[in-house]
């Protein structure tokens, strides 16, 4: 009998401990570049801070984060997220590109509007106002900005020097591009000269990404194209701009500046040749800088090697005096509609929007901060040097059918580069394809 009393007393004594609930919040994040792991680590730090605050407040619950960081590729990640959404077992927090995924997922009802929560927390007030546009769909906020970036045109300074450019001229190049004095045609001419003089191997005058992505929209814009009509909310395809872009690609391939099989899907080859110092001009992203630094040229001096050999500028204009562009594809944290703890998930996001965490991610992964206070906090040379590009940045339109538009344009690019069709034929193929898949959602000009 005495045993039972002791047991009962023990149970009573332990009750307060067990009364404290642990709420598990699941969060999925992706790089796919390794250095972007702070997208997950920052959430973990935010949960730690939240728990510390809950302890002080004497709250009866604590939060446990079950996080996941994907380093494989976007396709398998998005497939995984979609399966999870459809089966109702989606994580509470999902990180992905704001545009057009917010449009797509909000339309499907997978993610929840969190505008009320956002207005409740002061930390969000410091977010760059333009970034809210990227996470807003049909007037409602569906996510919180995680980071942003710019996509520069990099150039190899060593190769330019070999070509006979002076240090001053090389240093001047980004300014010339910004003013519209150095155009895509000048780039082509420079690369052709480098090929003739044997400074570069055939096909290595200009590199762009090896597979589909937001960049093709950016280059189409660089050649004067518009992709979206805000008045009607429809996508736009500008045939004249596309023809200019495709014609340039054709000229570049014919001149031996651009590889015929540049779209080989092989990122490894892209990074290898670029960091071996073989490529004269190459379009990439600011995050590539962090990848090259910490992985590809780590043994050769890391960032100082990069500063010594690479320069960066905006994507040039297509005509003299034109406006150069770049593209930002802001990442966002979203809260899934199936989550049982939406308010708590939003609270965690408010704890992530802190300048120190924002800075840690920006510096570590080569992305640009989302908070205005962060800019003054970071002493990072690269971040400061690329920040001006945001004045020229463009976003992907928040249209749920944008992937179809992009696939059609990409098909045109790949057909022109591989030499299957002429630029004119490619334009009409793309226009037909867009009309077929997008129907009344696209205006062909």
């Amino acid at each position: 009998m005495r045993k039972w009393w002791i047991l009962a007393a023990a149970v009573l004594a332990l009750t307060p401990v067990f009364a404290q609930k642990t709420i598990t919040i699941k969060a999925w994040t992706i790089g796919p570049d390794d250095p972007s792991i702070t997208r997950l680590k920052n959430l973990e730090a935010a949960v730690d801070r939240l728990n510390a605050l809950l302890a002080i407040e004497g709250a009866d619950y604590r939060v446990k984060l079950e996080g996941d960081f994907d380093t494989t590729d976007w396709d398998p990640y998005l497939r995984r997220v979609l399966l999870a959404f459809q089966s109702g077992s989606a994580p509470d927090i999902v990180q992905a590109s704001a545009a057009p995924l917010i449009g797509v997922w909000a339309t499907a009802g997978y993610i929840a509007p969190i505008g009320d929560e956002v207005s409740r927390y002061g930390t969000f007030k410091d977010v760059f106002p333009t970034l809210w546009n990227a996470v807003t769909f049909k007037g409602q906020i569906f996510g919180t900005p995680q980071d942003t970036e710019a996509r520069p045109l990099y150039f190899n300074k060593t190769l330019l020097k070999k070509l006979g450019w002076s240090d001053a001229k090389i240093a001047e190049l980004p300014k010339m591009i910004e003013k519209g004095e150095f155009t895509w045609d000048d780039l082509l001419a420079t690369a052709e000269e480098a090929l003739k003089k044997g400074v570069i191997e055939r096909g290595k005058g200009y590199y762009h990404r090896p597979k589909n992505g937001p960049d093709f929209l950016m280059w189409y814009r660089a050649f004067g194209g518009t992709a979206y009509d805000p008045a009607s909310g429809k996508l736009v395809f500008d045939k004249a701009a596309a023809l200019r872009y495709f014609t340039w690609l054709k000229k570049a391939v014919d001149a031996g500046v651009l590889e015929k099989d540049r779209l080989d899907g092989n990122w490894k080859r892209f990074h290898q040749n670029v960091t071996d110092g073989k490529v004269l001009f190459f379009s990439g992203g600011t995050w590539n800088w962090a990848e090259w630094k910490s992985q590809w040229v780590k043994d050769r001096g890391g960032e100082s090697w990069l500063w010594q050999h690479f320069g960066f500028a905006l994507q040039p204009a297509y005509e003299k005096g034109g406006r150069p562009v770049t593209l930002s594809n802001p990442q966002a944290y979203m809260v899934s509609s199936a989550s049982k703890h939406k308010a708590l998930a939003a609270k965690i996001l408010a704890f992530v929007a802190m300048p120190d965490l924002d800075a840690r991610h920006a510096v570590g992964s080569g992305h640009l901060p989302v908070l205005q206070a962060t800019a003054s906090l970071t002493e990072n040379r690269f971040i400061r040097a690329v920040s001006y590009m945001l004045n020229y940045t463009t976003f992907q339109p928040q249209h749920p059918d944008l992937p179809k538009w992009q696939n059609a344009l990409y098909r045109g690019v790949s057909a022109v580069e591989s030499g299957q069709v002429t630029p004119e034929q490619a334009v009409s193929v793309v226009a037909t394809e867009m009309k077929r898949t997008l129907k009344d959602q696209v205006m062909i000009k």
Partner: protein, 275 residues
């Protein structure tokens, strides 16, 4: 030397040549896992214990711990093998020994199911798992894997039971044993080589299974080793040393199984009733 074929040295050379690519692959795996850099099959630089950091660090690049993946893989393989052996041996005994309506069409249906490649059923299985609430759970994938492998198991075990002579079972039945006792005490011990064979096949096939967990498990806490390893195959920069070390770690249990279980595995080909 009556046991050796004529021209045996020539055969040896042929066998060696055929095995060479596989051997080279394994050698590459071992060297890459141990050294900093490997050019072809020549190790460069120093020994690289950091390739094995996944064993000691809780998580490598945001992945779950390898021990979680190892536990999941072990549970997955063991559960699939147990289920398969249990169900297949009972089903095979019934098919082999009992008469019931539609027995032949039933056998044919099992064979048809075996002919279906698992990949073609993925979407349908997804909907079923979702309906049952088993999507993204280890139990769900265990059930799917076991049921897809069952047809082969049933046919294999049926063959073993068919070969058993009726006499012993008849004797037991005459002595008053129930059907269950006959199955459990008389028939099953006699097909032990079959059980071992099926169990081993099921274990190995589940250990190496990739496409089912890859499709039906989406959260990292239920990852098996195959998914853990796949996460190192990236878009661009691949740490081959780390990946080879994980690969070796993944292959080790299978290797040990063969090393210590060889004697029993070879037994598969003997056995049965003497006499």
């Amino acid at each position: 030397m009556p046991l050796l074929p004529r021209n045996w040295p020539l055969w040896l050379v042929v066998l060696f040549l055929i095995t060479l690519p596989i051997g080279a692959g394994i050698l590459w795996l071992v060297l890459t896992a141990l050294y900093n850099q490997v050019h072809g099959l020549v190790p460069m630089g120093k020994l690289a214990p950091q390739n094995w950091r996944f064993l000691f660090e809780g998580s490598v690049g945001g992945r779950p711990s390898i021990w979680v993946a190892l536990k999941n893989s072990a549970v997955f393989a063991a559960a699939v093998a147990t289920l398969e052996v249990l169900i297949a041996s009972m089903a095979a005994y019934a098919i082999s020994r009992m008469k019931f309506p539609l027995r032949t069409p039933y056998l044919g249906m099992i064979l048809t199911l075996h002919a279906f490649p698992a990949v073609s059923l993925l979407i349908a299985i997804y909907y079923i798992l979702r309906l049952l609430g088993l999507f993204d759970t280890l139990i769900g994938v265990i059930l799917v894997k076991a049921s897809l492998d069952l047809p082969l198991g049933i046919w294999l075990m049926k063959g073993f039971f068919d070969q058993l002579s009726w006499d012993m079972e008849m004797a037991a039945l005459v002595d008053g044993a129930s059907r269950w006792t006959v199955f459990w005490r008389v028939a099953l011990p006699l097909v032990r080589p079959g059980i071992l064979a099926l169990g081993t096949f099921a274990l190995l096939s589940a250990w190496g299974e990739f496409i089912l967990p890859f499709t039906f498990i989406v959260s990292a806490k239920s990852w098996t080793l195959a998914l853990y390893m796949q996460s190192f195959m990236k878009e661009a920069f691949v740490d081959y040393g780390l990946m080879a070390a994980v690969g070796l770690f993944y292959a080790l249990p299978v290797f040990l199984l063969f090393l210590f279980g060889q004697r029993y595995l070879l037994n598969i080909y003997s056995g049965g009733v003497k006499g």
